[in-house]
């Protein structure tokens, strides 16, 4: 087995680049078009996973979108939805601990992405350090499907600027023949010495359905390829109840409650760990269908979410003893309450050539939280305790209400889709902090309101039944989130700097163009998506002069404040193809790359941690952009698909396009080999076992955070054996 060690990349990046592209070239060569076949298995006993995309409507076919199905999530040893998303082209994730990977799509992250559940439910994570990004509040075993849209093309679930992720958790099969179904998913991961168990029970009938699920995850620390153990243990409990009833032939009502409870979730890349996280998601939905007019529907939904988040450093050494260079014990505990509430009305109607979708929505998000710091010192043979409470947020909130519409129609070989959205956004905070100098107004809270508009046009031209070309043009605007507006002195970024909010931020606006090419012949597919985004008023952290504002978080070397930068440019592509040899051997290859830069940005030159001057940089790369990455998957079907071995090769290039203004560091490339086998002895049960990172590669992804207070990268797990058992009765 050949593999390339990360240290080789360090020694000679150029050699790596040439060898890496050779590997990619070989992969393409192997996939000779003569043998190209559709990767999606059409057999009833399907175990092979969808190769590239699943489309569920003609409207969505137009957008640069991919989807992850339930089977893939159940069979993989992914710890959370963020890890699952990282398997998609041009989707990466920020890792801070063993759980809660934060997704990055085409370089866009956080509130540049609109992440919603079902019919537009939005969750506001409680942690300012993003220990609990939105996806961390939903267990992957509860999700039926994930839809990823790259770009601001899906405006029906809220304002979107860089991309959107939609989790479908509502049972797809609700009303029908009376029946009882039980699904059990069990998993074990040897590297993490951890296991998961998920149980789902559902009952369906023509007029009523109920589904109850529960899950436990208990994972220990993992070991990287160098044999180093990382403090990444965590415990999660999840519960959900779905109830639905047909109140008439045309009307359905659906109620759902989901609870997610995290305990002792370790984050070695953050100054604190999650001690407690309780999430409640409540959803009530009414649907009106018209059997006489298929495709016509009216949905009215209302939701409420509540997240209580508690974090502290009680698992860190400085909590219980003096750790030099400190001369006292340092203890920190933070508590945050975050809540959202919203309503949405959505209407779909259809004619022979036209689809229309329109609606209104309202979303309210609020946060409030404090940090308690305690210092225990011994001076002059006496023990002194000093403590203080700080506001992280003080009754900060944002109200966003919007209306949207989408029209899709076809004209001969053309299909068009036009989207539009108008939002009114209002924010306020009861914060009393005011940082105003004679020279500058740094932080001064006052309420703000703004109107935002987004629109997009996608047109597709079908050359024939096999190939099409699509052009998308979009303008997507988003207002700054609660963190960017009101956060106070917390290390929330890629570096360990404290971040300060900026109530005066302007909205970010993305002007994006996508050119998409699709080719399908028989059962085969090749696709290429190219994009270019120009983000005006890009929001990023700007280092404040260290002699002006001091950090508050332990280990933070300075303070950065969220600021609008004139513009940032993102561009790149996703490409992929799928093929099958002799009806048994299936290959899929996906690749994605984003390059992003600031045409002009200010850099503060530091000397002895003091601002020694300012340099204007031109075309400086945007920080935290993942490198080029490609993934090749080969699956072989045996015994009428009952046994399927699978090999996945993932290659990421050296990331040398680093931000000088942010003092970012390069990351070596890597190549990973994963091997797995799926075995389905009976129709109701299947085993999925394998080895992740077969060669025990020691590697860190570019977006992985550094260990707090150091320049050491947080590494990914080394070799790991896993086994999953799925029983469906």
């Amino acid at each position: 087995m050949h593999y390339i060690r990360s240290c080789d990349f360090n020694r000679n990046a150029n050699m790596f680049k040439s060898s890496f592209f050779s590997v990619i070239a070989c992969m393409f060569c192997m996939l000779h078009p003569f043998y190209v076949l559709k990767a999606q298995n059409e057999s009833k006993e399907v175990i092979t996973l969808p190769a590239v995309e699943i489309y569920d409507s003609i409207i969505n076919r137009l957008t640069p979108r991919t989807s992850i199905g339930q089977l893939e999530m159940q069979t993989q040893p992914a710890n959370d939805l963020g890890e699952m998303l990282r398997t998609e082209p041009n989707v990466s994730g920020i890792r801070r601990g063993g759980y809660a990977v934060d997704p990055v799509i085409r370089g866009f992250r956080y509130s540049q992405l609109n992440i919603s559940l079902d019919h537009g439910i939005h969750i506001e994570g409680g942690c300012p350090n993003r220990m609990d990004p939105v996806l961390a509040h939903v267990d992957n075993d509860m999700v039926e499907r994930i839809e990823i849209t790259r770009g601001p093309y899906e405006v029906a679930y809220g304002p979107v600027q860089g991309g959107s992720v939609r989790l479908i958790t509502m049972p797809q099969k609700r009303f029908g023949t009376a029946g009882f179904n039980v699904t059990s998913i069990s998993g074990f991961d040897a590297n993490r010495s951890g296991w998961r168990q998920h149980l789902a029970m559902s009952h369906t009938s023509p007029g009523f359905f109920v589904k109850v699920t529960g899950g436990i995850k208990d994972y220990g620390n993992y070991t990287d390829g160098n044999g180093k153990e990382w403090e990444t243990a965590y415990k999660k409990r999840d519960l959900s109840i779905d109830l639905g009833a047909k109140i008439s032939a045309n009307d359905e009502i659906h109620f759902a409650w989901k609870g997610s409870f995290g305990r002792d979730v370790m984050f070695p890349a953050l100054p604190m760990d999650e001690l407690k996280d309780n999430t409640h998601i409540l959803n009530l939905q009414y649907t009106h269908l018209n059997p006489g007019k298929p495709g016509h529907s009216l949905d009215i939904s209302a939701w409420y979410t509540d997240v209580y988040h508690e974090m502290g450093n009680k698992f860190r050494p400085q909590f219980s003893k003096v750790v030099p260079p400190y001369t006292g014990q340092m203890q920190t505990l933070a508590k945050v309450d975050a809540a959202t509430a919203g309503v949405r009305l959505n209407r779909v109607s259809k004619t022979a050539t036209t689809d229309i979708n329109y609606g209104i929505d309202l979303n309210f998000a609020a946060k409030d939280g404090t940090r308690h710091m305690k210092m225990i010192m011994e001076m002059d043979d006496q023990v002194f305790v000093s403590q203080k409470y700080f506001n992280l947020w003080k009754e900060a909130w944002i109200l966003n209400s919007g209306m949207y519409g989408a029209l899709s129609f076809s004209q001969r070989k053309f299909i068009f889709k036009i989207n539009g959205r108008l939002d009114y956004n209002y924010s306020n905070s009861e914060d009393t902090l005011s940082l105003i100098s004679t020279e500058q107004r740094w932080f001064d809270v006052s309420s703000r309101d703004r109107f935002l508009w987004s629109s997009s046009v996608i047109s597709a031209y079908y050359f024939n039944n096999q190939s099409s070309i699509k052009l998308g043009l979009a303008r997507g605007a988003r207002s700054p989130d609660l963190q960017e507006r009101y956060i106070k002195f917390l290390a929330t970024g890629a570096d360990s700097y404290d971040y300060l909010g900026n109530p005066a931020l302007r909205p970010e606006v993305n002007y994006q163009a996508d050119l998409m090419f699709d080719y399908e012949s028989g059962t085969n597919r090749i696709y290429v998506n190219i994009f270019r985004s120009e983000v005006r008023d890009f929001i990023t952290g700007k280092l404040l002069p260290p002699d002006q504002v001091k950090p508050v978080s332990m280990g933070a070397p300075g303070v950065k404040q969220f600021t609008n930068v004139d513009r940032a440019v993102f561009m790149g592509f996703e490409a992929g193809l799928g093929t099958r040899f002799y009806k048994q051997l299936t290959f899929t290859l996906n690749a994605g790359y984003t390059y992003a830069y600031f045409p002009e940005i200010e850099k503060i030159v530091l000397k002895n941690n003091q601002a020694a001057g300012v340099v204007m940089l031109k075309n400086d790369p945007v920080p935290e952009i993942p490198p080029f990455e490609a993934r090749l998957k080969a699956t072989y079907a045996l015994w009428n698909n009952k046994l399927q071995p699978e090999l996945v090769i993932t290659a990421a290039s050296h990331q040398g396009a680093i931000s000088k203004s942010a003092y970012e560091k390069t990351t070596p490339g890597f190549v990973l080999f994963d091997f797995g086998v799926s075995y389905k002895p009976f129709s109701f049960t299947s085993f999925h076992l394998g080895i992740k990172n077969l060669t025990n590669q020691a590697y860190s992804m570019h977006l992985n955070r550094n260990i707090i207070g150091s320049n050491h990268r947080f590494y990914e797990p080394g070799r790991s054996f896993y086994v999953n058992l799925i029983i469906n009765l």
């Binding site: 340092m330 000093s386 001091k550 940089l617």
Partner: protein, 275 residues
Amino acid sequence: MKKAKHVYQSMNKWLYLLFISLVLWSCEGEEPTLQPRGIRFHFDHRINGEKLVFNSMQYTNAAGNSYEVKEIMYFVSDVILYHSSGNLISRGSLNDIHYTDTNLPETWEWLITGDYPAGDYDSLSFTFGIKSSKNQSFMFVNPPEVNMAWPEVLGGGYHYLMLNGWWRDTVNLRRPFDFHLGIGQIYKNNSGQVSDIIEFIDNSFTVRVSGVPFRLEESKVTDLTLVMNVERWFNSPVIYDHNIWGGAIMQKQEAMHAGCLNGRDVFTLEPYALH
């Protein structure tokens, strides 16, 4: 199938071109550093005009105590420049505080920049320590500054000065002294018990530095040496006797007050010269 092959080959070529164009897309560039106008202080520590020798019992104060210095840590803040025109120029920034630590060379320089008028200046002044309005607990959470924390129960905030060393007492015993200045306390009945504190005293004081006039030029940093004459902490105007005050003075307002009176002329200013 031929068509498919053709499309595939075109794509390969196209992808290659895309890679090349992405790599060559942008040329990074840098504009020259904007040099700020300001002053770079170089902190120096001397006794009787000579470079301070640490950990050597070779000094004697006005009270006759033989002593040695182990380390000195202190804050200075709120610099005011006295322009020859008679104007007082304050920097007016949010957090004009600098920490100096004789153990940490990186703290021996302090660059202050701002929109100071160019021209001649007669002198400057600064606050020794941190004024009580700014001296808030937990405003520093990282070493080394955090280790200057002044206990909340004794007034909170941070030490102004930690001058640690040894002296020989009346029986020639080598004893440690922690000459620490910070927020003072008034105790009911002079009990010295924390529970009896009835008032806190802001002991920070202004130092008008004697020494040479200096000049600030456009787009240029002026280097100056700020000398702490350590012996003056103990000599004038109050003769400070370690045998009277003992080793620890954090809860002895009278001792700290004596130190603060002496501290007003501890510093002198010199043109910076490379040694």
